[in-house]
Amino acid sequence: MGRKAEYSEKPKKGPGRKARKQGAPVFRKQSFAPMEEEDKKLSHRQKQRSVKREQKKVVQKAKLLEKRAKGKQPQPVKRKTAYNSDSEPEDEEEVQQQEASSDEEVPQLVPAPKSQKSTAPKGFTDDNDAWLKPKQQKKPSKKPDSESEEEEEDEDLEEDSEAEVEDDSEGDDGLDAEESGEEEEEEDDSDDDTAQVGKLADLSDDDDANSDDDFDISGEEDNAEADSDEEEDEDDDDDDDDKLPIERANKKLKKREAKEAQLADDELLETVDRQDVFQLPTEEEEAEKDLTLQEVQQRIKDVSLVLSDFKKYRQADRSRGEYIELLRRDLCLYYSYNEFLMEKLMDMLPLTELMEYLEASEIARPLTIRTNTLKTRRRDLAGALINRGVNLDPLGKWTKVGLVVFNSQVPLGATPEYLAGHYMIQGASSLLPVMALAPQENERILDMCSAPGGKGSHIASIMKNTGVLFANDSNRDRIKAIVANFHRLGIVNAVVSCEDGAKFRNIMTGFDRVLLDAPCTGTGVVSKDPSVKTTKSEVDVQRCYNLQRKLLLTAIDCTDAKSSTGGYIVYSTCSVLPEENEWVIDYALKKRNVKLVPTGLDFGVEGFTKFRQHRFHPSLNLTKRYYPHTHNMDGFYVAKLKKFSNTIPITKEQQEEDEKQLDEAIEAEATAEVAEEAAEPEEESGQEKGPKKLLGKRAGKPSFTEIEQELKKKKREESKTKYVAKVFEQPVKAPKKPKPEKPVEQKEKKSQEVVEKTNGSEAPSKAASKKNQPNGNVPASKSDAKSFKKKKQENGNASPAKPVGKKSKANGTDSPAKPAAKEPKAKPQAKVEQQSKPKTTKLANAPRVEIDEVPILEGKPIKKQNKLKQKSKQIGQLKKSKTGANAGKKQKFKK
């Protein structure tokens, strides 16, 4: 069929082609090795000079012999200030010795034996060794035959030293002549003492030094030295004889050790001093100072040092809290986080790890892609991309589909391979939950929060387009991305829907596996979206984790525990906060018949089983955490749950212990969690189970007397000890922490109106809530309705939820206060509530707690807002898409 024209791979021909590969260049050995003097041809003059030298040597030798014959005689020699250089003369002496013993005509041999000698028994100290080196290099130049060229090379640098050395040697000659015997040892050590030798004639030496410099270049001087040196050698020999070399070495060693010890002490003192230098700035200083980033960085280092060994480095009058406070402020400043998030991170990670984490969060993670196994294999894809100029590598041993891209000459999101669906651009961390889910073929799987379809398509490709994949996302704008990606990647077994995830159980249940990649604050992907650092607050976190809990419960409800292959739920977030991870799982463990199972991922940090005051279920160590600094992927959390029963435990309990549940509900209302608990029954309305029923039962009951309430409280406390799941309840209240402060402020505002209730102050809130419920559905529902209305009205407002809290509390006001305060924390809050009730003051006065809690109340109001937003967005987008959007995309693609 068709003509075949091979355009793709024509071998290159013609003149441009290199017929033969050029061999590696060959160099002469000499060009790298230092020139040896032998190789050089001597010029005429040089020859003459060398002859002269020979002659001179002969003469000198003769002289020497004469001298020896005479015996030792002190020579009147000029002395020098021999700073530290006493060892060198010896060195020279040794050399000369060698020369004397060996043939003088073979100067090249000299350096080698010398080096042996220098390390040998005479035992120079290390310092001296350092000194010796330049001398060794020079040695050849001193030999009679050696070239003046070499000297010239070194001239600039070494002339002086040489001169010194020579002078020293002369001086030593004199000394040695005068002082015999053990003097030698002292000279060795004289490095440290400095100028021991030179004391005698400092002044006269200077002149000599100058004059000596001039001689340096010629070889004659060397010869002159030679005589004197040889004399010295004899002296040395004498000295050596007096003490064994080992003895001398020992003495030296001892001295050195003592010195080192002292140095170490000094250093230690110094460092201690320096550390002491860091002092916590007082508040005034703080206010005045304008700090540069470097200063802040330094201070971070200092403080973390102090915190690393607090006992040692602290200032006595400053508490750890102050240090930590300062550190937090500095970290916030330096890395531009907001205080809230930094506090969370500091709570979570130890100090050293925290610094690494923060640093790692500043750096972008490597770009990774996932091979679409439906259309290609990883090796083929890698080959194709490499041909396009992409530099990539397999991602790791743990995945068979991941590739990491180092750099690329083409936009990776627009290559023909990408468009043909051979790969998906996806972070390394988003492979993990799907691997944990381990989908099987022919299963029915739900991906609850699917957009933009990366994990969903991964699931489908593992299932090989068998079974059914339900990809759901509540955001209609992002749905398009799912559909586009699925079609591009060739996934044909998917149903894409746009439902509220929390209501999915009303639509369909009985899934074999459910993947819930829950919406989160995104604290793990700071490197991708730095705005997280500053924008997230307590409220956001609360909103997220309540939504997450709702979604997780729904996900569990959607799963079929009786599935032959599955019954698994995988929960993942790209957040590192325990509130959104362990806490949520812990909640689900309590509320549903699920248990944690190993994720099947062989790396990652174990999840927390305890975090600050919270104690989670011990099996939470089966979950996995991932950090940017340890795994070089986004901060991530993966938990795998197995559902072992389709029944919902809460309902059973409810039937068994009606009262206990009632208490629970009350407690729930009293606490911040109210909102969420309230929302839950609504969700479950379809199933007619759980708290909703409970509400109904309560409806007819009259309000409790104080005694009754007390009894219930007792029971509740008892049950807490019995009931493991209760442990969980405490953390729920935790977010209340910030409360006490704010209410106090309000108190100040309203101080006139404060009417202290006689009974325990915290009680009222509980009492209020109790009242609320006992009164029956009516008041509660009313308040709900009102809140709804209000919310609708205030959609635009920052805190639509505020009124809800107020109303509910307002209902409770009339109720008698409950005695026996449990937590002092709650007091101020309660007061404030009381105050606010009768007044029906405006939102501004409402305690902050309520603001926090309101969003929790229900998913609904939030959702309504969202819907509105969505609509407006859609409208906006319609306009956009007609005009700019399309063009923009085109451009992007054309790049």
Binding site: G2, Y7, S8, P416, V468, V483, V495, V496, F893
Partner: protein
């Protein structure tokens, strides 16, 4: 999800046969279960009956996509295939066109194929025959309609268009908003 009306079904199959000829049969009689065409918001979806049943749980508005979208009916009842149909068109295509590597990118930006960009072509293809466009290493890039028959192509000027562009995989990026 509703069945296609007879009229629309007829249009659809005519359109399909332009590209894959008698292979339409293979789309309908499949060994791995019953597959069917369904219409949802004027778009035509091709999906296994098994999945179709499951998708009935979702409301009209909530259901976004089931299986593979083939194309969209205009208000005047004309069918336009989307690039998403390529998944099924490519393997069954009877007439194919290969473009040179140098022209690949151009085609992906939505340009018609001139004779210079033509690498290979199926023989015996008549004018206005629907064809699937491949790259030289057999990567399906899109589909179009021949402007010249194969024989005419041989004699045509280098710059004359031999294949009209209808759809290409670049649309996944270019037209994501309008496609889905």
């Amino acid at each position: 999800m509703k069945r296609l009306t007879d009229e629309r079904a007829k249009i659809l199959f005519e359109h399909l046969s332009k590209y894959i000829g008698t292979n339409v049969k293979q789309l309908i009689d499949r060994p791995d279960g019953t597959y069917c065409f369904r219409e949802h918001r004027d778009r035509v979806y091709y999906v296994s009956e098994r999945i179709l049943k499951l998708s009935e749980c979702f409301g009209y508005k909530q259901l976004v996509c089931v299986g593979t979208c083939f194309g969209k009916f205009s208000k005047t009842n004309k069918l336009k295939f989307h690039i998403t149909a390529l998944y099924y068109l490519a393997p069954y295509a009877q007439y194919k066109v290969w473009v040179k590597p140098s022209f690949e990118q151009q085609f992906l930006y939505g340009n018609h194929i001139p004779k210079t960009g033509l690498g290979r072509i199926t023989e015996n293809a008549g004018q206005y025959q629907g064809v699937v466009v491949y790259s030289m290493n057999d990567l399906p890039l899109g589909f179009g309609v021949l402007a010249r028959s194969t024989t005419d192509c041989k004699t045509a000027d280098p710059m004359t268009t031999v294949c009209f562009h209808q759809s290409d995989i670049g649309e996944y990026i270019r037209a994501e908003d309008t496609l889905f």
